[in-house]
Amino acid sequence: MTRLLATTVALTLLVSIAIGGVTSAEAAYRTPKEINQTLKELANQHKSSAALAELTRTPGNRELYMLELGANDSKLPAILVVANMEGNSPMASSAALELARLLLTDWNDELATHRWYILACGNPDGYARYFSKPLADAQVNERPFNADKDDATDEDGPEDLNGDGYITSMRQAHPEGTYVEVTDNPLFMREVDNAKGEVGMYRLFREGVDSDGDGKLNEDGPGGVNPGHNFPHNFKHYTKTDGPWSASEAESRALLRYCFDHSEIAMTLTLGRTNSLKNVPESNRRAEAGGDKFKLPKRWAKRMGVDPEKEFPMKVLLPMARDFTGYKELTEDMLLQWLDAGAKVNPDKNDLGYWKEISKRFNDFLKENELDGKALDAPGFSDGCFEEWAYYQYGVPSFSLNFWTLPEPKKEEKKADDSSLTLDQLEGMSTEEVVALGEEKIAAFLKAQDAPEQYTAAMVIKGLEGGMMNPKRMAKMMRKSQKDDDEGGADEKDEALFAFNPDAFVAWQPYSHPTLGEVEIGGMIPMSDITPPSETADEMINKQLPFIRDLAKLTPQLTIKKVKTTRRSADVWHVEAWIANEGFLPYPTHQGKRCQRPAPAVAKISGRPVDFLEGRPRRPLGLLGGSGGVEKVSWLVKAKDGSEVTIEAHSFSAGADKKVVTLKEATR
């Protein structure tokens, strides 16, 4: 039974027999315990190709298991699948288990080229809360946390006052109220805009009482930290649920350790709430430190005789610094570190090209499979999430998939006349195409869409050209503003959820609250927006998993494309080898080069009796671009005619190759 069906049944029960609303545990979504049970069964049934590694135990004493698929041959590149790390993605765990099952059965061939490491539930403590009663929206682990820093810990959580099995909301008519009902749908609440002359009516709270009598409601609930926000890239300190510092939690530490212990991991795939396959991450984050241009520290600027106030780009600074220090091996990375340039926060533009192509393929795939119906956007990356860490600090291609979001409610779009653009059309256009329409057409379009007068066509063109705006985001903003006007400001998600399932909302019912007095309890059932009925969930998972399977085929793959030997003199040979990457993705990623992971590919030559005259036998290679990126390596060797030399290319996560050549006059 799905959660939404359960909701309906529960509500019916509530009305008819007036006992506490009790939802039965979901059959479609497995509990953390059932997930572990399934993993054990899979490992037991497929002993030759599956193993289960216990990474750690959570504060709630739940095991964190990694299912390792494929022959225990760490020379194969591995795909790491991390599911439900934030504890709020039931579908993700289902998908991970289904993926594991398929790889062990129908898709068994895939294990010949890649290993698969599958963490089916990265945050079992948090996810277990989904099955607890009453159901509350909280995904923290069971580490006690004194959220309000008073004299007690975890003492004031929410309560299910009306006994319907859910922690929903309470509203209280109050002079300090800043919320009103949405005109078209009294189930929804919205915040008023004083600047429009609106007056608030209600205060909103989570359902519950002030258990510790401090005047605050539900400010210190059970637990803990969400380990899915506890990774060291873009980690935020001083929050209530992200942990005191990154890697502070058993779950996140164990996964980090696992990654560093498994340098064969070539790609990560995060199954959760975000979807980087559908929407490529944008380059719009502001770095906390540094930028693209740098000032020299005053002391050095003075010694080098340059203006300490002037900012230089790296391509100017690097040769300047090499010249000044006389240290020819000075790298950009070393200089960036010395200048305290800080961490990268936006995807490298060279990597972004690959991401965009993969995203295009994914969106085409969705279209082919009729999965391209309009749906709400997936949320963006959380601070300290695994998805971003895997790319920015671990250096591998990192993708994420959420399988499903609420469908957008169907509605008629404004269209003034046939010649004008629709928002749908706008969304499908490139920036260049929109700009090419010209000022006049854009102005007509803006007018037709009732855009506020201050948005002129010239402004839009400038925004598009300057990269501050793109057609997609523009369409989204315009839809939102139209919606605000049309529906009395209902939240987009509320609208969509209500259209998808009206039972996801509990109607406001009066309740006599011990400290607030008369209130009403109602509102959205927690997590109902992320848990479709099981048929929908299964369908979405089954239809999208093949793309994941095929994604693995894009990992970088080393090959020795060609070896050429030329006789230079008696017993002296010039050996040239072209080491190429035949995979679609680069090795390493451009960010990987910056963050110094994974280790570079290496070319090696050996042979006996062979003397090396020029070129070191073992040579680390630079970045090998995707789809045939190549680097030439050459050696000058002294060997008798007819000697054999072996060329090897090696890497931790992009495979290896080997070629044996005989040094002969006519060798090509």
Partner: protein, 577 residues
Amino acid sequence: MIAFRIFLTLALLVASTASATKAGKLTLSFDHYFDGPEMTRSLEQLNAAYPNLTELRIIGTSEEGRDIHLLTINNNKTGKDTEKPGVYVDGTIHGNEVQAAEVCLYLAWYLLESYDSNESIKELVDSRAFYIIPVVNVDQRWRFFTDAGHYNKGRTAMVPYDDDRDGLADEDSSEDLDGDGEILRMRVADPFGGYKTHPDDPRVMVRVEPGEIGQWRRLGSEGIDNDGDGRLNEDGPGYLDMNRNYGFKWQPPYVQSGAGDFPMSSKPTKATSDFIITKPNICFNFAFHNSGGMWVRGPGSKLAGFYPPSDVKVYDFLGKEGEKITPGYDYIIGGQDMYTTHGDFDEWMFSNNGIFGFVGELFMSEQERYRKQEPKKSEDEDDSQYYGGTPAEERQLFSDNLTQGEMYTPWKKFDHPQFGEVEIGGWRTFTTRMPPPFLMLEMVHRNASMVIFTARHAPVVSLELLDVTDLGGGLKRVRVRASNRNAIPTLSSTAVRHKIYRKDILRIDGVEVVSGGIIEDRFLNRVSSLEHRPHMIFTSVPSFGRRDVQWIVRGKGKAKVTFEAIKARNKSLTIDL
């Protein structure tokens, strides 16, 4: 090295317990460096000699399996350690910064040995808890005494790392080629090498002037190019700098070299941080390093933000006293006056845990002057931390005439397997970053005194009744003051601002409480009253200051006022209404 050992043995034989105290229970002589076994043994001896005042615990093990010792000094008769303000002291997080451990050991020994004879020490030990971890980097400090060494070698944790990005970890370390127990420097004859022999001292090299022909090229550390990549000793053991491996605004290795894979990824950093969070009573910490002569505070980087002015005042007070307790030291801000560091221990302590602290950079090369005492230190010649202080040729004379040449190995020819004839020589392992043993006692004593001075300034709160006023109709106004005459507040402003701890609680029990709150101005009668739970006021007591509170109560007889703090002793007061 052998000569050095003989020197140490001789020194040991004639050593007396150098201290102001009377003969105590245990003689420890601070005229030599304590190697791994002796350091552990000394801690065990201290623990055995003072079982009622000490506890010796192993808080974890290192990458190579060595124990990390914690000595707690606390008088259980006067209360549990966590009931008292705690002072945390550690040393040698960088394994080559050895003398930090001696400072920690001396501090412990001095506190314990003086307990019976010095009233002020007794009072301090009875009212504070000291947590002392003399050696954090147990692996490398141990190796500093047993392996062929160099004063700059051994900073890292023993975690393999591919420093030169060639896919191999730790494959090209330095070597003691001539087998003298030291990793020294190598030079090779080269007219374009940029260096020539100093005209006055053949042991010293100086840069050539433009137009001059040189004599030498510096090759770097003694060793060979093990991996044949054309670079010498570029990938030795590690590198994971534990003092970049802590959790506040930790940055990955591509931003902060030596950061490790993730926060607290090394065993000693995990062990120390796990221990520290079990002791929220810690109000101050010292982390001893070498060298340069500095009391360093954060912020260590721009990312760490700023420290609230009220916290800076606390630092300034203690730092400026420190400059007098240890003459020659400068009180500085790490990230501004030195260089940027991310993920260092002190930043984690202060910004993540709200605990004040200093890094103590032990020893100044200025102590190795060989010249007539000057009236005043001149300002212009001290722009770097070490070896900058005293010119090399002057240090040679210091070594010649004050250590009988113990500090330096003169250049000697050596047939290098890769470079042919080279010369090997240089400053020996136990030099440059640390004083010769005869200067040790003053160093350990002065630096331990700074810890003791600071420990005196741990928060001690007194609770007093200001007045009880009858408001008529059975109502009374009770005004109470909690004051702290010491420099360290019960909670740093950083801790309050970021809600790191439960605040202190001032509460009244035994009467009906009508209202209550903090008195903002006693004379103008401005009070911030609480709307809820007025009997319980959450607050903190500032540096050299007080917190006045008032309650309006109804009732007769006795009421009890209590003060509960995490970083200060609890107090209570009975009021007769």
